[in-house]
Symmetry: C2
Subunit: 403 residues, 2 copies
């Protein structure tokens, strides 16, 4: 059961974008598993990819093709990650792009490939090829909901959102879809997000705004600290509205909407982490540097002891404090650390707060959404991380998936 | 069920060391929970403590007292960690030391205090005081087995070992006991080890040899990446044998025995991690630096996806490779990475090895002891880490402990 998350009832078409969806039979039976997204000529496309040194073949090819410029198509399959597939994996990813160009014209280099699913199996390219004519024939502006569902692997609900943004020159649309369960799923390689707008955004600005939005959203979620081999987030600006994101004020408004969309989708991935029963927001303040604030947030978010305590609704402040203590913050004065869960002060002066009661702690830990505030008392830097608890179901899903 | 680990049948007395054991009722009923270890006058004592910034009161006091020199007593309680207890915790630890001096003479500063157990509760010092006369009266050389059991918290078996070491000047004894379940136990703060020898070892040499042995043993184990607030390892050399560890050859022999004792005790902690069903040795070779080899070993050892696959006996090489890829090794060439599980080659050239079969992989993963070899192909540096799998019981123990 996702935590406070339901599928959107509609997603707004983005002028300049058409989507096709097919059931190619890559792994799943009787469901769509292949998406073709077409963006208008002269769209600008920005992207952020996984930092894992072991990155999947489609990530390598998508990076190359994006650098060549002139992107017209995104080809996305679920069910197979095309990762750990060596040279043949690269050939398969390139062949898939070539099949798009064969049917729709242009060059294979104008196609970005994306794959998500099982690692270590070869992509069945003939099935991709067979599905291509139907995929091309079905391209339509209002296919976002179907595309959202086709990219799912073991997600339990589709993840999508649309925003209308009013700029000085008019109103533009921003729609995004994502799949993933926050690295939680075995072999499922893992997080993909595709966003599009009809605003006119220069390429450099687009990449800059995407980097900033991803940094504060998709890069702030963690389920188990494992990063995937296939992660990617793409933002296309078709310019079809003719409305420019140019002035500072427009830029702020557009960036805010982009941040909100990324934030919603990133949270959705954590909220749908199977096994997750609690949605946790870690706010670390008072760091000397953003880096040390982030290190503390990560140490707490990755601590299995903290995560199992959250699952048990156990206000176990000793585990949180121990995780803060081992985050590698040089010269940390534990007596200055203050920790609140929701509005309950639990730690101050290096120990349990005087007014704290177990009942108050248990009550706030019993909620499905738990904000944890950790103040380091060293400076003004902050970090925020979204995470979830660690439950029996996490072990079940990850241990039993292949049996 | 601990993995290939049984309690020792006997532990050798160490001339110059006497131990007393009492049931003080600190937390447990009807079992010993307090140990006093006396070392001969002019013993040299070396120690290694937790690096956690949030360290427990007894750790702070033990560090101070050790620096003052002239240590005669170690006072160890189980059931209460005296961690997260603020200023009162420090007073309580010092008061406990003072009670030893009151009964046995000397200064409070000659006593090192150690606590293990629940975090955040105050140490019941009056019970320590009440138990002191009996503890002192019962001091005896052959109490190692009882001491070993008294320091246990949720350990399922006592952990101890003795070695006789023949040096150029004669034979000496080395006995060690430890408690802990590798950071796996909730609130149980966590690993303590006490070693003693009757060899004559200069203080500087003793600390140097202990540092080296701990680095390759207790610092190479991980269950869940959480480090405790109370970890300590102490080595006392009473000199009662009159046999000096002086020549290079003696030093090598004694250091090897010390390493073997530490290695046994460190492994025992992982083998007794409740929830653990597999004992894993990660060997990383071919690193450019020891640090990068260790980073890779840690990334794999801490990966919940790898650990749940180990629990499921699933030879999921994609998860291992993905963990290697995210270890932050700059410029890692995945095509040079080779991974073997036992004698089965599973990964080479960035993907599944040609000769690999799932049957062979599953067979080797089904063992209770699994060595994993990861060759990075970049240089000559190595790292070795002991860990265990992640099972339902890990979640059960850590989620349900306080309920």
């Amino acid at each position: 059961m996702p935590i406070n998350l339901t599928e959107p009832t509609e997603l707004l078409p983005v002028p300049g974008v058409r989507l096709g969806v097919a059931a190619a039979g890559i792994r799943y039976r009787d469901r769509a598993d292949l998406v073709l997204m077409e963006v208008a000529v002269r769209s600008n496309v920005a992207a952020v990819f996984t930092q894992n040194a072991f990155c999947a073949a489609p990530v390598i090819v998508a990076r190359e093709h994006l650098a060549a410029g002139g992107v017209r198509y995104l080809l996305i399959n679920s069910g197979n990650a095309n990762a750990g597939t060596g040279d043949r994996g690269l050939k398969d990813a390139r062949a898939s792009c070539a099949h798009v160009a064969e049917i729709l014209g242009g060059q294979a280099e104008q196609v970005l490939p994306f794959s998500t699913g099982v690692i270590g199996e070869h992509l069945p390219v003939p099935r991709v090829r067979e599905a291509m004519p139907g995929l091309a024939a079905g391209l339509a502006a209002d296919n976002w909901m179907d595309a959202m569902r086709a990219i799912m692997t073991t997600d339990t609900v589709g993840k999508g959102i649309s925003r209308r943004v009013t700029l000085s020159g008019g109103t533009v649309t921003l729609t995004g879809i994502a799949k993933g369960s926050g690295m939680i799923r075995p072999d499922m390689a893992t997080m993909l997000a595709f966003l599009a707008t009809d605003a006119v955004v220069p390429a450099g600005d687009l990449q800059e705004m995407l980097n900033a939005a991803v940094e504060e959203s998709f890069n702030c979620i963690t389920v188990d600290g494992d990063t995937s081999t296939n992660d990617a987030c793409v933002l296309a600006a078709t310019g079809a509205s003719g409305v420019r994101v140019a002035e500072d004020d427009d830029r702020r408004r557009f960036a805010a909407a982009l941040q909100a969309v990324c934030d919603f989708l990133a949270q959705a991935i954590v909220r749908d982490g199977e096994g997750a029963t609690k949605f946790i927001t870690l706010h670390v303040t008072g760091g000397q540097t953003p880096d040390e604030a982030r290190r503390v947030a990560d140490a707490v978010a990755h601590s299995p002891l903290v995560k199992t305590a959250l699952f048990a609704s156990d206000p176990n402040w000793g585990r949180i404090l121990a995780a803060v203590g081992r985050a590698g913050v040089a010269g940390l004065d534990v007596s200055r650390v203050r920790i609140e869960i929701g509005d309950v002060l639990i730690v101050e002066g290096g120990g349990r707060a005087a007014a704290y009661t177990e009942e108050a702690g248990r009550q706030v830990m019993d909620q499905a959404e738990i904000p944890i505030y950790i103040h380091l008392g060293r400076g003004r830097s902050e970090a925020r991380v979204y995470t979830c608890d660690l439950s029996y179901d996490y072990v079940r899903i990850n241990a039993e998936y292949r049996s």
